[in-house]
Symmetry: C2
Subunit: 111 residues, 2 copies
DNA sequence: CATTATATATCGGCTTTCGATATATGTCAA
DNA sequence: TTGACATATATCGAAAGCCGATATATAATG
């Protein structure tokens, strides 16, 4: 990870929900999608993602199903109605949070 | 705390450094300053702040001195040269991080 | 045939933060 | 004046979030 990992804290679930709000994806694909979309800033670790996905299924934010592709079984995940609600809440929280940071830093970020 | 505390993760030290880059302050004052500047979004807890301040002094980011005001002894903190360097780094990381979040979320934040 | 990429998984440990609790003084109203 | 609240600092244990290490298995590449 290029930047301090601790800054990522709390936003991983939001990012996963966002990726899955576009289309169903499997774990490994999410890791790559996040790296690409963030332009190599985020490098979500497998050790973080897989337990998180299980947890999110348990909470009813995601559903999962297996699909065989080229001899390998992939586990696809899709976002639920509840997951979409949580995503909207987390995006709102992110706006509040980053807005407050900007105010404390004095509004001189983004150059 | 109005928003999910975990979103704050990792940025507390940066915010403390920022407050002290303006002027020397004592702990209780920082808690209030952060609440005011963030417009009630951040509510830094004493149980978070005081151990963090001790740690930052130990790392050479801050210096501290006592001052008696109205019969009460306050512990003031000031930022060091090293602390200023760390602040600059953390601000840069924050720009990278929040920029990446915006890219993943699709640029539709801040409305 | 060996190495690398793909793909998922678990476990222990670290870091960050907070709730609870403790202590002590100043201020203000009943 | 006395009880409550604000000011001010401090520590401890617990919880949450994330990651490194590790394991397993198959496909592709050289």
């Amino acid at each position: 990870m290029a930047i301090d990992r601790s800054l990522i804290s709390g936003s991983t679930m939001m990012l996963v929900l966002k990726l899955l709000s576009e289309k169903d994806r499997y774990g490994y694909e999410m890791i790559e999608a996040l790296r690409e979309k963030s332009e190599n800033v985020f490098e979500l670790k497998a050790g973080t993602l897989y337990p998180l996905l299980h947890d999110m299924v348990g909470k009813g934010y995601l559903t999962s199903y297996e699909q065989e592709v080229a001899g390998k079984v992939r586990k696809y995940y899709g976002i639920t109605k509840t997951g979409k609600k949580i995503l909207a809440e987390k995006e709102k929280e992110w706006r509040e949070y980053s807005g407050a940071i900007v105010r404390v830093l004095g509004g001189m970020i983004y150059e």
